[in-house]
C-alpha cells in the first residue's frame, strides 16, 4: 500500500505524480535506449514497427480517446503523411525539414476536412471518415504523376544532419530516430493534456452540451483536435513509409484504419498508455500466432497449415472479449490491478463499476 502525500501545488500540475512514478518512466526510456544493444536485428525491426504503430495510435487517441470522435479513416492520413514526406524529399527538401512539414501538411488538411465533418455526430462521422479512407485508394491512383499510382514509390535513405539512415542498412539508427520522435510526441501529448486545450478536448468528449455551457467553443475544439490528431498520424505515416521501404495505393487500405481503431480500443481508450499497449498487441500478434501455430502443429503432428484470415479472426475475437469484459482495455485492467496493490486490503469489487445508463435516441421523432 502506497499513499502519495500532496505537499505542494506543483504536484497536481507536474506531468508525473511523484519521484517514484518519474523514475519508473525514466527506467522505461533507459530500457528502450539499451534495447538495440541487447536484441538482434529482426526483433529490433519489430520494436520499431511497434513504436510506429504506437505513434499512429497516439494520433488517433487524441481524436477518439480524448475528444470522443470515432474515426474509421485514419489510414488516409497515414498515407498523406507518407506521400508528403517522400514527395518533399524527392523534391530536394532535407529530411529534417520534410518530416515535420509532412506532419504539418497532414494536420492542416485534416483540419480542413474536419470543418464539414464537424456537422456529423458519432456514427455518421465514423461512416464519413471510412468513406474517405476508401476513396484515398482511388485518389492515389488518380494522382499518379505525384504518387506513382499502382506502381508505388520507394523510400530513399534519409539524411539526418549528415548521417545516412536506412531501415535495412542501419536499423539501429532508424530505431533511435523512431524512438526519438515517439518520445517527443508523447511528451507533447502529456503537456497538451495538462493545458486548457487538452482539458477542453476531454470536456467535449464527456458532454458537448456541458462543454459549451462552460465556455468551450465546441466546433473550434473539435477542429483543432482533428488537426493535432492528423498531424501526429501524418508523422507516423511518414515513418511507416520509410519503414516499409516500398508502398503503393493499397498499403494504406481501410483495413489499416479499422485495425488502428481496434488497436487503441484494446489498449484502452482515453489513455496514452493505451496507444502503446495496443501497439504491442498489434505488433506482436502475427509473430505470436506463427509461434503458436508451429507449436500446435508439433503437438498434433500435422504439417504447418496456413489459415488465411487467422490473424484478423483472432484479433476480432480479442477485441470482442475486451469490449465485453474490459471496456477500458489493457490499461484499464492494469489500473485495477495496480489499485488493488496500492490499496491492498481495502480494494472493493465495485470501485470501477460504471453507472448504469439507458440509451436515448438522437432522432427525436
Amino acid at each position: 500500500m502506497r499513499i502519495v502525500f500532496k505537499t505542494d501545488y506543483m504536484q497536481d500540475l507536474r506531468p508525473w505524480k511523484d519521484g517514484y512514478q518519474l523514475s519508473l518512466y525514466l527506467i522505461l526510456i533507459a530500457v528502450a535506449i539499451a534495447a538495440p544493444f541487447v536484441v538482434d536485428a529482426f526483433f529490433l525491426g519489430e520494436l520499431t514497427n511497434v513504436l510506429i504503430w504506437a505513434l499512429a495510435g497516439l494520433g488517433l487517441m487524441v481524436l477518439t480517446g480524448h475528444t470522443g470522435q470515432a474515426s474509421l479513416g485514419h489510414a488516409a492520413f497515414l498515407a498523406m503523411g507518407c506521400y508528403a514526406n517522400i514527395i518533399l524529399i524527392e523534391a530536394g527538401v532535407p529530411f529534417v525539414l520534410a518530416f515535420p512539414l509532412a506532419g504539418i501538411i497532414t494536420g492542416v488538411v485534416g483540419m480542413l476536412i474536419a470543418i464539414p465533418a464537424l456537422r456529423l455526430h458519432g456514427i455518421y462521422l465514423a461512416i464519413a471518415t471510412m468513406a474517405m479512407s476508401i476513396l484515398v485508394d482511388d485518389i492515389i491512383v488518380l494522382t499518379e504523376p505525384w504518387t506513382g499510382g499502382v506502381g508505388g514509390k520507394y523510400a530513399p535513405s534519409i539524411n539526418v544532419f549528415g548521417l545516412m539512415i536506412d531501415r535495412w542498412g542501419t536499423p539501429v539508427e532508424f530505431y533511435f530516430l523512431t524512438l526519438g520522435v515517439t518520445i517527443l510526441v508523447t511528451l507533447g501529448y502529456i503537456n497538451l493534456l495538462r493545458a486548457p486545450l487538452g482539458r477542453s478536448f476531454i470536456a467535449v468528449r464527456d458532454s458537448e452540451v456541458s462543454a459549451q455551457a462552460m465556455g468551450v467553443d465546441v466546433a473550434r475544439t473539435k477542429a483543432i483536435s482533428f488537426g493535432v490528431s492528423c498531424a501526429i498520424t501524418g508523422l507516423a505515416g511518414a515513418l511507416m513509409g520509410l519503414f516499409a521501404g516500398a508502398f503503393n495505393n493499397e498499403t494504406f487500405s481501410v483495413v489499416i484504419s479499422i485495425q488502428l481503431l481496434m488497436m487503441i480500443v484494446i489498449g484502452g481508450l482515453g489513455s496514452i498508455h493505451g496507444a502503446f499497449l495496443g501497439a504491442i498487441v498489434v505488433g506482436f500478434l502475427p509473430q505470436f500466432l506463427s509461434i503458436a501455430k508451429e507449436w500446435v502443429g508439433a503437438v498434433i503432428g500435422g504439417s504447418n497449415v496456413a489459415i488465411p484470415g487467422l490473424e484478423f479472426g483472432i484479433f476480432g475475437l480479442i477485441l470482442i472479449v475486451f469490449i465485453l469484459f474490459e471496456p477500458m482495455g489493457i490499461y484499464g485492467r492494469w489500473l485495477k490491478i495496480r489499485t488493488w496493490f496500492e490499496l491492498f486490503p481495502f480494494y472493493r469489487k465495485d470501485m470501477f463499476k460504471r453507472q448504469k445508463s439507458y440509451l436515448k435516441t438522437e432522432r427525436l421523432r
Partner: protein, 291 residues
C-alpha cells in the same frame, strides 16, 4: 434500350444493397445500434444456404433449404444479441460499432475456414432462365430480386408502423427507460429485431448468391450497403431501399460514362456529398437536439 438494360441490372444490384441496408436500418431503428457486421451476416446466410442446397454439400431441395437457412440465420441473429449485444445494453454507440466490426472479422474468418475462399454460386431453379418483354431481356434472378425486395420492404414498413410490436420497437429505440415504463420488454424486443435482421440478411444473401458468386470477403459489400443506408437516411426503411437503388443504379452508369478510375469513386463521393449537405440522409428523421 441499352440505357434501360443498364438501369434494370443496376436496380437488381441496388436491391441487394437495399436489402442489406434494410438490415442496418432495422437494427438501428429498434436498438439505436449500428451493425457493421450486417454484410458479413449476408455472406454467412448465402454460405449456409449454399451448404444446404448445393450438390457438393448436403444437396437438399432448394425450396426446403430456403426456410431452414433463414431460420438458422434468424436464430444466429438472436444468439448474437442474447450473448454479445445485450451485454452492451445502454453503452455508447461507438463501442457497439467497434464490437460489430470485430464480429465481422470473426464471421469472415469462420466462413473462410468452413467453406474455403473460392467464390461459390448457389444452385437454384431460377438460374439461366430469362424473361423478355418488348425486346428487353431480363434474367429471372434479377426479376426475383426486385420483386422480393419490394415485397419485403413493404412488409417491414407496414410491420413497423401498424403492429403493436413494431411500435414497441420504435419506442424502445427512442428512449429505453421510458419504454420500460410503458411496459415494453426492451431486451426481448431487441432480441427479436436481431433475429429479424438475421433473416433479412439471409434473404439478401440468397438473392446475391443466386445472381453471382460469394466468397468470405463478399461481406465487405456491406460498406456499399452502408453508403446506401446513409444516403437514404438511417432511420427510414423506404429510405434504405431508395438509397440502395441509387447506389446500385449509379454504379453501372458511372462505369459506362465516366473515365475509368473515377467511376468507382461515384458511390462514395455521393455518400460524402449527402453527409455534408444533408447530414442525416435524404429521408431525414432528425430534429434539432434538445437538452
Amino acid at each position: 434500350m441499352d440505357t434501360l438494360q443498364l438501369l434494370i441490372s443496376g436496380l437488381a444490384n441496388g436491391c441487394v444493397y437495399g436489402l442489406i441496408a434494410l438490415g442496418f436500418v432495422l437494427i438501428y431503428k429498434a436498438t439505436e445500434a449500428v451493425n457493421f457486421a450486417q454484410g458479413d451476416f449476408m455472406m454467412l446466410g448465402a454460405f449456409v444456404t449454399i451448404g444446404l442446397t448445393n450438390t457438393d454439400y448436403m444437396g437438399l431441395p432448394f425450396w426446403m433449404a430456403l426456410p431452414i437457412s433463414i431460420g438458422i440465420m434468424a436464430l444466429l441473429g438472436y444468439l448474437v444479441d442474447r450473448f454479445v449485444i445485450r451485454r452492451m445494453f445502454g453503452e455508447s454507440q461507438t463501442s457497439v460499432v467497434i464490437l460489430t466490426i470485430a464480429m465481422g472479422f470473426v464471421i469472415r474468418f469462420v466462413a473462410g475456414v468452413i467453406w474455403g475462399h473460392e467464390p461459390q454460386s448457389l444452385e437454384n431453379p431460377l438460374a439461366g432462365k430469362e424473361v423478355s418483354f418488348g425486346g428487353l431481356v431480363l434474367g429471372m434472378e434479377d426479376v426475383a430480386v426486385i420483386v422480393v425486395t419490394i415485397l419485403l420492404t413493404w412488409f417491414l414498413y407496414e410491420f413497423f408502423n401498424r403492429t403493436k410490436l413494431g411500435l414497441a420497437m420504435q419506442g424502445a429505440s427512442q428512449n429505453q427507460l421510458a419504454a420500460y415504463y410503458m411496459g415494453v420488454p426492451v431486451k426481448r424486443v431487441q432480441g427479436f429485431i436481431w433475429a429479424l435482421a438475421g433473416g433479412v440478411a439471409c434473404i439478401a444473401g440468397i438473392l446475391f448468391a443466386a445472381k453471382g458468386a460469394v466468397d468470405p470477403n463478399t461481406g465487405l459489400l456491406g460498406i456499399k450497403a452502408f453508403a446506401a443506408a446513409v444516403i437514404g437516411g438511417f432511420g427510414s426503411l423506404p429510405g434504405a431501399l431508395a438509397g440502395g437503388l441509387i447506389v446500385g443504379v449509379i454504379e453501372p452508369f458511372a462505369s459506362r460514362y465516366i473515365a475509368a478510375g473515377y467511376s468507382q469513386i461515384a458511390p462514395y463521393a455521393l455518400l460524402l456529398a449527402v453527409l455534408i449537405f444533408r447530414p442525416h440522409g435524404l429521408f431525414s428523421q432528425v430534429r434539432v437536439k434538445k437538452v
